[in-house]
């Protein structure tokens, strides 16, 4: 999961710089936003499983 997120981050930042250099600021912002959303969707399921595991282990 860590390497996946890091790869998405690197790709998004490279795309961001390329798009900024070619003068498409809005698309660069949209790319950053899309990358952030993709990474968030990946992390949210992890957070949910972690919290439910803690709940079940400690009987919350």
């Amino acid at each position: 999961m860590i390497f996946k997120i890091a790869a998405i981050g690197i790709i998004v930042s490279v795309l961001n710089q390329v798009l900024i250099r070619s003068g498409r600021e809005e698309q660069a912002t949209m790319t950053t936003l899309a990358g952030l959303i993709v990474v968030l969707m990946m992390i949210i399921s992890g957070i949910s499983t972690l919290f439910s595991t803690i709940k079940s282990v400690f009987g919350l």
Binding site: M1, I2, A6, S13, L50, F58
Partner: protein
């Protein structure tokens, strides 16, 4: 997962997070949260036998299972609150982190208040019996 693997995960996540911090800070924070999730999940699978052992110890000692439940609930609240507060602090939101910690303290206080009431009742009955 043994301790070497856990330390390796933490180190690799730290290096990746620092590398990405300049270009996309949000991804670096999410990498650190993901590493925290992986480490905590690996530890929680080991913690279950320890929890069962402590429960059997407490039941052998003659204490009621209610006290052990309150103890483990407090530990769980502490874990969740610490995780969230540390993630907020890493993201630079110290105010949110302190609020999460405060919420955790209040929840543990609410959890522990019935026990405190029982202790005070026992103390009161002891004092009254001594006076009479």
């Amino acid at each position: 997962m043994n301790i070497v693997a856990l330390c390796g995960v933490a180190l690799i996540a730290a290096i990746l997070s620092v590398t990405l911090k300049k270009h996309s800070p949000e991804t670096s924070i999410i990498i650190s949260i993901a590493a925290g999730i992986i480490l905590l999940m690996a530890i929680l699978s080991k913690i279950i036998p320890a929890v069962n052992q402590i429960q059997t110890l407490i039941s052998n000692a003659g204490m009621s299972a209610e006290y052990a439940g309150i103890l483990f609930k407090a530990v769980g609240i502490c874990l969740i609150c610490q995780f969230s507060a540390d993630s907020c602090k890493d993201a630079g939101e110290a105010a949110l982190a302190s609020k999460v910690e405060f919420a955790g303290k209040i929840m543990i206080l609410i959890l522990a208040l019935p026990l405190f009431e029982k202790i005070s009742q026992i103390a009161l009955s002891l004092i009254n019996s001594r006076l009479q």
